[in-house]
């Protein structure tokens, strides 16, 4: 082999090596932080600290917006579960985004929807709204129909119609616990309205027993693909959000369940229609606004309590779609606001969150893919590369599996979502296998997302019409 190729290999190996060290270092820091945080709250009587909030005099009214596109299968259940939330003052607005199925008929028949004359304040630009209905049984339930314009457009239409100062966006297929809304509103209520947006932590519902929109008992799914996702959510939760939230550096609060201050969102121009990651994009834009207006006391927070249960994809095909889409959305948001990267004007978000998301969350898969290729390649080449590849492989195990194992330890020790010991043992065993099959799969899909981002950019101008369908299988 020529000296050139060997230098090249050494160079790439070096880059991957340094990258891995960087990632392992930042993950360790965040885990350490999560450890300290959870240790503090260990044995705290959570019930006590939440109870005092439900008093009507302190809460702020919320409009819940449910965008629906061809959701005839689940819409009634979702609305029922929302209506049963324990929250003193709220309205539920279901936005039918030009569905072609029976969503509209079902809603009208089941909740006795009656047309009302309503002046809509067109504060955000949306596709035309065709009708507004109000339920005769639940006066706080509204239903609007509009021309199809995508999820962001539907949410914007809901915001226009909403009458309360805060709104909560929610995916049609999510299940909330009865106290969820209270818990997510808690930072807003207790912060003198300094909190601009608040997001809840998402858990995977597959395997749990859900009846009439409420959680009866929690147990782990039998499917290995779902188990891996449970571990992944757990890790993402510990790594990013506990640590980042504390210092107002959250860039992702899930679109599946979060509350926003309407005033801020309208000022920011509402949801962006041109991206697949409208939830993250909005959060980044709000951060940008807060910093540009120099309102340092305003914050975006993440609530660590598990409050929203969502159905995870159970087969490879759906999971792949979800992941490529997520990754494309991430890249779109980062790209659109790339100016914030390493810009001291944007404080910790610009100096820490952005580089972190660029390097580790966004470009990480490319480097990891390189790493996996390198290992396979070096295995066949032998010699000095072989040994170097083994070192890399160890680092991969450390990164891919050990952190997942630690996450499961955290779950068993402090979070205690899964009461059954056998579930915990299964989680622990599976977490060890992550690096050998699940991790490469997701890396591959995320790289695919990056590719899609570039393909889409080249055909700019073609507005992709995307619906908002269930279980993250959007298309």
């Amino acid at each position: 082999m020529s000296t050139f190729t060997s230098y090249l290999l050494l160079f790439f190996g070096g880059i991957i090596f340094i990258y891995m060290l960087l990632v392992i270092f930042s993950y360790s820091m965040m885990f350490l932080y999560a450890l300290l945080q959870l240790r503090k709250e260990y044995k705290l009587d959570k019930h006590e600290s939440n109870e005092e909030l439900s008093d009507i005099t302190y809460v702020k009214p919320v409009s819940i917006i449910v965008p629906a596109y061809n959701e005839e299968a689940g819409i009634l259940d979702s609305v029922h579960s929302l209506l049963s939330l324990s929250y003193p003052q709220m309205e539920v607005i279901v936005v039918n985004d030009g569905s072609s199925d029976k969503t509209q008929d079902k809603m009208i028949a089941h909740f006795q929807m009656e047309p009302v004359q309503k002046v809509i304040r067109q504060q955000l630009d949306t596709k035309p709204v065709t009708a507004v209905y109000r339920s005769a049984i639940h006066p706080n339930l509204l239903f609007i129909t509009k021309q199809n314009g995508g999820k962001a457009d539907a949410l914007n239409a809901g915001i226009n119609l909403s009458k309360y100062p805060y709104f909560c966006s929610i995916d049609g297929d999510s299940i909330l616990e009865s106290t969820s809304l209270l818990k997510v509103m808690k930072p807003i209520i207790t912060s003198n309205e300094e909190v601009v947006a608040s997001g809840g932590s998402i858990r995977i519902a597959n395997g749990t027993d859900i009846q009439m929109g409420s959680i009866m008992s929690v147990s782990l799914s039998e499917k290995s693909l779902v188990i891996m996702q449970v571990i992944e959510y757990l890790r993402a939760f510990l790594v990013g959000r506990v640590a980042l939230s504390k210092h107002n550096m959250v860039l992702i609060i899930s679109g599946a369940f979060s509350v926003f201050s309407k005033k801020w969102v309208i000022e920011a121009g509402g949801y962006e229609k041109n991206t697949v990651g409208e939830d993250m994009e909005l959060v980044v834009r709000l951060h940008r606004m807060m910093k540009e207006q120099k309102k340092s006391s305003n914050r975006i927070v993440f609530v660590p309590d598990p409050v929203c249960w969502t159905e995870a994809p159970e087969n490879i095909k759906d999971l792949r779609r979800q992941r490529t889409r997520w990754h494309r959305g991430l890249l779109e948001s980062l790209w659109k606001h790339r100016k914030m990267t390493l810009n001291p004007k944007y404080g910790a978000v610009g100096m820490i969150s952005f580089p972190y998301f660029w390097l580790i969350e966004c470009l990480g898969p490319l480097i990891e893919l390189g790493g996996y290729t390198y290992i396979v390649f070096a295995f066949f080449t032998g010699g000095i590369y072989f040994e170097f590849a083994i070192i890399l492989a160890f680092l991969f195990i450390l990164y891919g599996s050990v952190f997942s194992m630690i996450s499961v330890l955290f779950e068993a020790w402090a979070l205690k979502t899964y009461p059954k010991i056998t579930d915990l043992i299964r989680l622990f065993m599976y977490s060890f296998t992550e690096v050998f099959w699940y991790r490469p799969l997701t890396i591959f899909w995320r790289c695919e997302g990056i590719l899609q981002f570039f393909l889409k950019r080249s055909e700019w101008g073609h507005m992709e019409r995307k619906g908002l369908s269930r279980k993250g299988l959007e298309e």
Partner: protein, 346 residues
């Protein structure tokens, strides 16, 4: 050379993984022990619930079996007492609960207050206000006066204890807070004040920090304290529009308009919030007096003011009629739309 390093790395990773497995096993064993103690607690509750019922509800002498000996006993009894306080109200029952705790759990809580763990301390503080553990108030005072630094949540809980027991020093603590409380926290604390304490605070109104001023105005409205309406009326001429709006809001909550003249100047206010509040307030005034003003407000440039004015008219007995005649005669598109919407709501 490199092989040695490899070996080291391998050993390192294996050690790490074994360590993780060991910790995992430890946690699992802990969880199993925890599950077993929970079962024991349940068992204790089942076995002793009747005796506790006799003591708390029927007022019989306390059975000796209910004297706690172990940590698990305490846990079980606490659990039962919490259930009683949540579901049964009654001075006798509460008195007996407090009496029991004073006799058997006093030292236990005192120790908890001194614990080095944040979560244990805060749980104990919660219990003091929940179970009205007056015998621990002095301990809380000591905590407040000590040099030791506590967290904001703890300070809030301590203040709440003082407020619950109507402590004399509460107001002075309130004026020199040990933590940086927010509006909501102050609101909760002030809400517990008794009439006399509240009056003392209102007497000092002018010298209070603005956050407290605003909250006092809110609380007068929240608690419907009619006797303080004159106090609220004075606030209508405050320099800060925030204060004026809050005062309008509280007056609206109480629903007592003594002199309508006080409110006229708000009709021309540059702040739409003030015009909206007046539109809302006018509900409490006879329609014959308020209608001309409401009709003016119906043409306001702000959507909120128009909407409020239309609703205020609509809430009157003859409201629908009036609105319909406005709809028939107006040539203002905005007025028409707003009236139509309000009527449309049925």
């Amino acid at each position: 050379m490199i092989e040695n390093k490899l070996l080291l790395l391998l050993i390192g990773i294996l050690l790490l993984i074994s360590l993780l497995i060991a910790v995992f096993i430890y946690i699992i064993v802990q969880r199993m022990i925890e599950t077993r103690s929970l079962a024991k607690v349940e068992q204790y509750i089942k076995k002793h619930n009747d005796k506790l019922y006799l003591y708390l509800i029927e007022g019989k002498v306390l059975s000796k079996d209910l004297i706690p000996h172990t940590r698990l006993d305490i846990r079980a009894i606490e659990e039962m007492l919490v259930r009683y306080t949540k579901n049964i109200s009654g001075e006798d029952v509460l008195f007996r609960i407090t009496a029991y705790m004073e006799r058997y759990l006093q030292e236990h809580y005192r120790k908890q207050l001194k614990s080095s763990k944040w979560s244990i301390r805060i749980n104990a503080l919660y219990k003091i206000s929940d179970f009205r553990l007056y015998f621990l108030v002095n301990d809380v005072f000591e905590m407040l006066n000590s040099q030791k630094k506590y967290s904001k949540q703890e300070y809030f809980q301590m203040y709440k204890v003082l407020a619950t027991f109507e402590s004399q020093n509460f107001i002075s603590f309130l004026l020199h807070p040990k933590a940086d409380f927010g509006e909501m926290e102050y609101k909760k604390l002030l809400y517990y004040l008794n009439q006399q304490q509240f009056e003392t605070l209102i007497d000092q109104y002018e010298s209070l920090p603005s956050i407290l001023k605003n909250i006092i105005i809110d609380i007068v409205g929240m608690k419907n304290l009619v006797e303080f309406v004159p106090f609220l009326e004075k606030r209508l001429n405050d320099d800060s529009s925030e204060t004026r709006i809050r005062a309008l809001k509280s007056i609206d909550q109480i629903g007592l308009i003594r002199e309508i003249d006080l409110y006229y100047h708000f009709l021309q206010s540059p702040y739409w919030e003030e015009r909206m509040m007046v539109a809302k307030l006018l509900v409490h005034v006879p329609m014959s007096k308020s209608l001309p003003y409401l009709q003016d407000l119906l043409k306001d440039s702000s959507w909120w003011v128009r909407s409020r004015a239309a609703q205020s008219i609509h809430s009157n007995k003859r409201g629908k009629e009036i609105l319909e005649s406005i709809m028939a005669t107006t040539n203002d598109r905005f007025v028409f739309d707003m009236v139509q919407e309000v009527i449309g709501k049925g």
